[in-house]
C-alpha cells in the first residue's frame, strides 16, 4: 500500500509517532507516542520544566522520521536516543544535587587519618613483659566474627526446608502436566520473586521490630530472603535436567514421587550443593551489613567503632571480614569444582 509522506508528517506533527504507525512502523510509532509524553511528564513532575522543552528536537526528528518511513525507508534512531539519555543524565545530576566536593584542609586531614588508620589496623600489642601478642581489639572482634559466620550458616540452613520442597513446585518441566500444576508453578515462582526482590536489609529491619535487636533477627532475615534466592536457583537446576531418564523411569510404572526420587534428585544434587555453598558465602557478606542495623555479629561491632571514630579498631573488623569472605569464596569455588 502506498503511504503519503505529507500525511505521515502531518500526523506526527499532531502527535509524535502517529505518522510512523500510519507508515507501518508500529513499534517505533508506539514507543514515540507513549514514550515522549511520559518523559515530558516526568521532567515536569520533578520540576525540571526546561528539560521537557529540550525534548523538542526529538519531536522534530519524529516528524522527519515519519516522512522517511512513509517513503518505505528507515532512519537511524541513535541520535534521538542519545539526546534523551543525555537529558536524563542532566536530570539525575539535578535531582541528586551531585557536585564534586570542595575539600578544605580539615577534610583532607580527616581523609588522611582514616585512610592511614585502615592501612594500619590495631592488630598487635605489647604486654607489660614486652612480648608481642594479639591486641584487645582482635580478641573482642573474634567472637562476633565467628558469630557472623554461624549466623550466615543458620540463615542458609533455615531456608533449605522451605526452598528445597518449593523448588520442585517451581520447576516448569515438572509442573506442566495440568492447569492446576501450572497454577502452583506460577504461585511458587511469584513467591520466589517477591522474597528475592525485597532487600535483606528490609527483612532485617522487620525482624528487629518483631524479635528485637540481635543475631536472631539477622538469621530470620537471611532465611526469608534465602528461600526466594535459593528456590529460584534450585528450580532452574531442576529445569535443566535431562528428560530422557525421567521418561524411562516413568515407563517402568513408577509413580510421580518415585520419578522425582530416582530420576530428578540424582541429577540435581551436585548443583543444589553448589548453590547452597554459594548462598552461604553471600550470606556472610550480607550478615555484616545486617549487623550494622542491629542484626548481630561483627557488623554491630564495626558500626560501634565507626561511631566512636576508632578507625584503627574498625579497620580490624574490616580486614577480618575481607579475609573470611576471601577464604569462603575460594573454598566454595574449590568444592563446587569438585562435585559438579
Amino acid at each position: 500500500m502506498k503511504r503519503s509522506p505529507i500525511l505521515a508528517g502531518l500526523l506526527s506533527l499532531i502527535a509524535p509517532g502517529l505518522g510512523q504507525m500510519y507508515a507501518g512502523a508500529w513499534r517505533r510509532g508506539l514507543t514515540l507516542l507513549v514514550g515522549l509524553p511520559v518523559q515530558a511528564a516526568l521532567f515536569h513532575a520533578i520540576g525540571l520544566h526546561s528539560l521537557a522543552y529540550c525534548l523538542a528536537p526529538v519531536y522534530v526528528w519524529s516528524i522527519y522520521d515519519s516522512i522517511i518511513a512513509a517513503r518505505g525507508r528507515c532512519t537511524s534512531a541513535v541520535l534521538p536516543v542519545l539526546v534523551i539519555l543525555a537529558l536524563n543524565v542532566i536530570a539525575s545530576l539535578q535531582v541528586t544535587q551531585f557536585h564534586i566536593p570542595q575539600l578544605g584542609p580539615q577534610q583532607r586531614g580527616a581523609m588522611r587519618e582514616i585512610g592511614g588508620s585502615i592501612l594500619v589496623p590495631d592488630l598487635l600489642t605489647r604486654t607489660t613483659a614486652g612480648r608481642l601478642t594479639w591486641s584487645e581489639t582482635v580478641r573482642t572482634a573474634a567472637r562476633p566474627m565467628v558469630e557472623t559466620i554461624y549466623l550466615a550458616l543458620l540463615g542458609t540452613g533455615l531456608s533449605l526446608p522451605l526452598a528445597i520442597p518449593l523448588s520442585f513446585l517451581g520447576a516448569r518441566n515438572l509442573m506442566s502436566g495440568s492447569p492446576i500444576l501450572k497454577t502452583f508453578y506460577g504461585i511458587t515462582r511469584g513467591l520466589f520473586t517477591v522474597l528475592r526482590s525485597v532487600e535483606v536489609l528490609v527483612f532485617a529491619l522487620i525482624a528487629i521490630a518483631a524479635v528485637g535487636v540481635g543475631p536472631l533477627a539477622g538469621v530470620l532475615a537471611l532465611a526469608v530472603h534465602g528461600v526466594g534466592a535459593l528456590g529460584k536457583l534450585y528450580s532452574e537446576a531442576i529445569e535443566s535436567i535431562e528428560h530422557g531418564p525421567i521418561e524411562a523411569i516413568r515407563s517402568t510404572g513408577a509413580n510421580e514421587l518415585q520419578v522425582v526420587v530416582y530420576g530428578v534428585v540424582p541429577q540435581v544434587v551436585p548443583q543444589f550443593i553448589a548453590f547452597t555453598l554459594y548462598r552461604w558465602d553471600i550470606n556472610v557478606r550480607m550478615a555484616t551489613v545486617i549487623g550494622m542495623v542491629g542484626g548481630g555479629g561483627i557488623g554491630a561491632l564495626l558500626f560501634q567503632e565507626m561511631q566512636l571514630y576508632q578507625w584503627r579498631q574498625a579497620a580490624v573488623a574490616i580486614w577480618m571480614i575481607a579475609g573470611v569472605v576471601m577464604l569462603m569464596d575460594y573454598a566454595s569455588a574449590v568444592i563446587r569444582e569438585r562435585i559438579v
Partner: protein
C-alpha cells in the same frame, strides 16, 4: 495380544503424527517398525504405554484397555521400554538404574528411603549377569560405553518382568558390532522368554535379520505390513520415498 485400533495423534502444533494406525500383534511376535524419521514410529511406541496421550483410538494389552486405564502402573510395568539414548540416570550406579525397573511394583514410602527388598537386589544382579555386566554394578552409569549402557537399559526392562518390550531405535546410537549384541539380547528375550517385541529400526537389513514381521510407517499411516523378506525394491521406495537407496549394515 497387543491390539491397536485406529490410533490418531495430533500434536498441539497441528502435526498429525499418527493418522489412524491399527495393528494386531500376537503374543510372542517380533515386530520391526520401519520408516523415515518423523514417520510416527516413536509416537506410536509412546502412545502404547501412554507416555504420550493419543488424541483418539484405543490400545489393548490382552483384555486390558490401556487407553482407558486410570491407574497406569499395573499396565506400564508389563511393558518394558528401551531407548535410543539409553536414558539411564548418569550419576546413579548401574545397580540403582537396574533396580528402577522394579519401581512399578514398590510403594512410594519405601522408594522415598531407597528401600528395596532383598529379592529385588538378587533379581537385579541376575539381570545384570544376563547382559554380562556383573562386574559393573557399583560403577556410575556414565562411566560405561554406549553398548554397555544399552545393556543396562535392557536389564532395567528385564527387572519389570514384562510381557511386551518396546524398543525405540535401540541401536541407532551404536556401532554395527555392538548393535548385534544388543539385538541378540532382544531376540533371546523374544524366543526364550516369549516376550512380544516391538522394535523401531532404521536399517532394513536388521529388520530382515531379527523380525518375524515388518510394519512400514509413512506420514503416520501403515504403508506396509508383511514378512521381512516380502520387501522388494518397489515396496522399499513406497516406505522410504522414491529417491531412497538401501544401505546395508553387516
Amino acid at each position: 495380544m497387543l491390539r491397536i485400533e485406529n490410533l490418531i495423534k495430533v500434536y498441539p502444533n497441528g502435526t498429525r503424527a499418527l493418522n489412524g494406525v491399527s495393528l494386531k500383534i500376537p503374543t510372542g511376535q517380533f515386530v520391526a517398525v520401519i520408516g523415515l524419521s518423523g514417520s510416527g514410529k516413536s509416537t506410536l511406541m509412546r502412545c502404547i504405554n501412554r507416555l504420550i496421550e493419543p488424541t483418539s483410538g484405543r490400545v489393548f494389552l490382552d483384555d486390558v484397555e490401556i487407553t482407558a486405564a486410570t491407574d497406569l502402573r499395573p499396565v506400564r510395568r508389563r511393558i518394558g521400554m528401551i531407548f535410543q539414548d539409553f536414558n539411564l540416570v548418569r550419576r546413579s550406579s548401574v545397580l540403582t538404574n537396574v533396580l528402577c525397573g522394579r519401581l512399578g511394583y514398590r510403594s512410594s514410602l519405601a522408594s522415598l528411603f531407597h528401600l528395596f527388598p532383598p529379592e529385588d537386589y538378587e533379581d537385579a544382579r541376575a539381570c545384570l549377569a544376563r547382559v554380562g555386566l556383573s562386574d559393573k554394578e557399583s560403577q556410575r552409569a556414565d562411566t560405561l560405553s554406549g553398548g554397555q549402557q544399552q545393556r543396562v537399559g535392557i536389564a532395567r526392562a528385564l527387572m519389570q518382568k514384562p510381557d511386551v518390550i518396546l524398543a525405540d531405535e535401540p541401536v541407532a546410537s551404536l556401532d554395527p558390532a555392538t548393535a548385534h549384541t544388543v539385538l541378540d539380547h532382544l531376540e533371546q528375550m523374544n524366543k526364550r522368554d516369549g516376550m512380544t517385541v516391538v522394535c523401531n529400526l532404521h536399517f532394513l537389513s536388521l529388520a530382515r535379520r531379527y523380525s518375524d514381521r515388518v510394519v512400514g510407517l509413512k506420514a503416520g499411516e501403515i504403508v506396509f505390513d508383511g514378512g521381512p523378506h516380502e520387501i522388494d525394491d518397489e515396496r522399499f521406495k513406497q516406505i522410504y520415498g522414491q529417491d531412497a537407496e538401501q544401505v546395508e549394515i553387516a
